[in-house]
C-alpha cells in the first residue's frame, strides 16, 4: 500500500510542496486569472507577464493539496523564460501525460521535474489537482497574448 502511495507522492512532489518556487503575486503582468476546482474548492490566482513573446514571469497565490501546489511550482519553473509557443507545447505535453491514465512515458528533457507527476495520472480523482494551475496558466497566457496582440496592433 505504501508503494502505491509512494508512486503518487514522489519526493520531488513533496519537495515542491514544502518549498514552492515562484510563489506570490508580482508586477508587472498582462493577465490575471482565478481558477477553482469546483469539487474540492482548491483555488489559484495566477498572473502572467509576457515580454516580447517570452513568458517572463508567472506569479501566483494558491490554496490546495500537495499535488496541486507542487504542480504549480513545477509549472512555473518550466514555463518562465520560455517563448510562449514552446511553453504551450510543454503545457500540451503535461496534459497528455495527465490524461494518459498512466500509459504515457514522460520525456524528462521536456518535462524535467514534471515527470514526477506520471504516477498522478493513475489516480483519476487527482488529475484535476495536478492540472488546476496549468489550466489557469494557459488561460492567462492566452489572455495576455490577446492583449499583447491588440497592443501591438495599436502601434
Amino acid at each position: 500500500m505504501s508503494n502505491e502511495l509512494d508512486a503518487l507522492y514522489q519526493e520531488i512532489i513533496l519537495d515542491h510542496y514544502k518549498h514552492p518556487h515562484h510563489q506570490g503575486l508580482r508586477e508587472p503582468f498582462e493577465a490575471e486569472v482565478h481558477h477553482v476546482n469546483p469539487t474540492c474548492g482548491d483555488e489559484v490566482t495566477l498572473r502572467v507577464h509576457v515580454d516580447d513573446g517570452v513568458v517572463s514571469d508567472v506569479s501566483y497565490d494558491a490554496v490546495g493539496c500537495s499535488i496541486s501546489q507542487a504542480s504549480t511550482s513545477v509549472m512555473a519553473d518550466l514555463v518562465i523564460g520560455k517563448p510562449v509557443d514552446e511553453a504551450m507545447s510543454i503545457h500540451q505535453e503535461f496534459l497528455t501525460l495527465m490524461q494518459g491514465k498512466g500509459t504515457v512515458v514522460p520525456d524528462e528533457d521536456v518535462l524535467e521535474d514534471g515527470i514526477a507527476f506520471a504516477g498522478v495520472a493513475k489516480f483519476p480523482a487527482r488529475v484535476k489537482c495536478a492540472l488546476l494551475s496549468w489550466m489557469a496558466w494557459k488561460d492567462a497566457t492566452t489572455q495576455a497574448g490577446a492583449s499583447d496582440a491588440t497592443a501591438s496592433k495599436e502601434i
Binding site: 500500500m1 505504501s2 502505491e4 502511495l5 503518487l8 507522492y9 513533496l14 469539487t39 474540492c40 474548492g41 482548491d42 483555488e43 490554496v63 490546495g64 493539496c65 500537495s66 499535488i67 496541486s68 501546489q69 489516480f123 487527482r126 489537482c129
Partner: protein
C-alpha cells in the same frame, strides 16, 4: 461501549458491501455515510424482485402487473409516511432527491399567488451552514422575484447564532429554510424553536432533513416544519429517489411544478386541471423501483428503531471525537459534544491538505470525504477551503474509528509532521 446497537455483527451482515475487500486486499472501512449510505440486502432484493416479477408502469397499466406495480409504489408511500410521522400519506411526494424537493418548493413559490406569493420587499431566511442545495434555489428565487435573501450566521463553535432571531425573522419574512442537521459541522439545529418564531410572523418553514432522517427519530408533525425534504440514498435506500413532505394546506396552495402525465385531472388543448396531491407534483413516470426500494429501506430502519440508530450514532460519534482529539494538530469543525451533533465530523489536520489525508486513508482502505462537502459558505465562515469528513452510520464499529485514528497518525508520519 454504551449505546451501540446490540446486534451490530448481525446488522453488518445485512450490508453485503461491508464484506468486500479493496484492490489491495484491505477490508473496507466505510466512513462516508453522510455522503451516501450503504444498502442492506433487503433493499437490493426488494428492488430486484420488483424488476424480475412485477415490473410495469404505475397507474396507467390496466393489467395485473400494472396493479402490482402501482400497489408496491403506493405501499412505499405509506411506509415513508409512517416512518416520518406524516399525518396524511398523500402529503408524501416522491422526487428525484432532496435537491429536487427543495427546488420544487423554491420554484413553485416563485409562481405562487395569495399568501405564499413572494415579491419585492419580502425576505427569505436561510443559514450559513446550508448545503448548496438549500442555498442556490433560494438565491434564484429571491433574485427572480426581487426579494431579499438573509441568513443566520454561525457561532465559533459551529452553532446557529440565534441572538438576532427576532430581528432576522420578521414580518417581511416569507420563508425560513434551514437544515435540521448540518452535513459539515454535524450540528443539530433547534428547528422547532425557529419554526415557532417563523410562524409568529406568518412565514413558512422549510426543513432540509437530508442528514436528520437518517439519524434521528423524525416526527414531521411535531417538528414545526411546513415542508421537509430528504433523500433516499442516505437512509439506506437507493439513489434517484427523494421525498418532499408538506402540510396538505401548504401543498394544496402551491401551484404545480412539472407539467405532464399523472399530474393532471383533465387536459384540453387550451387548459388543464390538475390532480390533487401527491400526484400534482409527480409528473411523468416516477422512479418506481427506487421508491419501492426506499420503502424497504425505511421499513428496515423502522424495524431496528430510530431511537436505537440514534443512540448508536451518538456512541460512535463520542468515541470518534475522543479518538480524533488524540491526533496532534487536529481541529474538529463544529460542536464537540456528541449529544448535540450528528455523525458527520469534519476536521482539519495542520500541515496536511484534506485531499492528501483522504488519499493516504484510501490506501489503507478507509473511505472518507475530502473537500467542501457542498457547504462552501460554512467552510469560508471558519476560514478554511476544505476539510476532511468522517461520517458513521448504524453499521459503523468502534474498531473502524480506531482504524481511522491510526490512519491519521500514519498520514502525519507519511508527511513527516513530527
Amino acid at each position: 461501549m454504551d449505546g451501540l446497537l446490540p446486534e451490530l455483527d448481525v446488522i453488518r451482515k445485512d450490508f453485503p458491501i461491508l464484506e468486500r475487500t479493496l484492490d489491495n486486499g484491505q477490508p473496507l472501512v466505510y466512513l462516508d455515510s453522510a455522503n451516501t449510505s450503504q444498502k442492506p440486502q433487503v433493499v437490493i432484493d426488494t428492488m430486484v424482485d420488483h424488476l424480475e416479477r412485477h415490473n410495469a408502469n404505475i397507474s396507467r397499466a390496466m393489467h395485473q402487473l400494472g396493479a402490482e406495480s402501482t400497489e408496491a409504489f403506493e405501499a412505499a408511500r405509506d411506509k415513508v409516511a409512517t416512518f416520518i410521522g406524516a399525518p396524511d400519506r398523500d402529503e408524501v411526494i416522491f422526487t428525484k432527491n432532496a435537491t429536487e424537493a427543495l427546488n420544487l418548493v423554491a420554484n413553485t413559490l416563485a409562481w405562487a399567488t395569495g399568501d405564499l406569493a413572494i415579491g419585492e420587499g419580502d425576505e427569505v431566511v436561510i443559514t450559513e451552514m446550508e448545503h448548496h442545495s438549500n442555498i442556490v434555489p433560494w438565491q434564484l428565487l429571491t433574485q427572480r422575484k426581487g426579494a431579499t435573501l438573509r441568513w443566520f450566521g454561525l457561532t465559533d463553535d459551529g452553532r446557529l447564532d440565534l441572538s438576532n432571531l427576532d430581528e432576522l425573522v420578521n414580518e417581511r419574512t416569507k420563508v425560513v429554510s434551514l437544515t435540521w442537521v448540518s452535513n459539515m459541522l454535524g450540528t443539530i439545529n433547534p428547528i422547532t424553536q425557529i419554526a415557532r418564531r417563523a410562524h409568529e410572523v406568518g412565514a413558512i418553514v422549510v426543513v432540509d432533513a437530508s442528514q436528520a432522517v437518517p439519524q434521528l427519530p423524525v416526527d414531521v408533525a411535531a417538528s414545526g416544519a411546513d415542508l421537509l425534504a430528504f433523500t433516499g440514498h442516505k437512509v439506506v435506500g437507493p439513489t434517484g429517489i427523494g421525498v418532499l413532505w408538506g402540510k396538505r394546506a401548504v401543498l394544496d396552495q402551491l401551484p404545480p411544478f412539472h407539467g405532464g402525465g399523472e399530474m393532471i385531472e383533465t387536459v384540453r388543448m387550451d387548459i388543464s386541471t390538475y390532480a390533487g396531491i401527491p400526484h400534482k407534483f409527480e409528473a411523468g413516470t416516477p422512479p418506481i423501483v427506487e421508491a419501492i426500494g426506499l420503502g424497504a429501506a425505511v421499513d428496515y430502519l423502522g424495524h431496528i428503531g430510530m431511537e436505537a440508530v440514534h443512540a448508536h450514532e451518538q456512541a460512535i460519534t463520542r468515541y470518534a471525537l475522543e479518538g480524533l482529539a488524540t491526533v496532534p494538530g487536529l481541529t474538529v469543525l463544529g460542536p464537540l459534544d456528541a449529544r448535540e451533533r450528528g455523525g458527520a465530523i469534519s476536521f482539519e489536520v495542520e500541515g496536511v491538505h484534506p485531499h492528501d489525508i483522504a488519499q493516504v486513508l484510501d490506501s489503507r482502505g478507509i473511505a472518507v470525504r475530502a473537500g467542501h462537502h457542498c457547504a462552501k459558505p460554512a467552510h469560508a465562515r471558519f476560514g478554511v477551503q476544505s476539510s476532511t469528513r468522517m461520517s458513521s452510520y448504524l453499521y459503523t464499529t468502534p474498531s473502524e474509528i480506531d482504524a481511522l485514528v491510526e490512519g491519521l497518525e500514519y498520514t502525519r508520519s507519511y508527511f513527516k509532521l513530527g
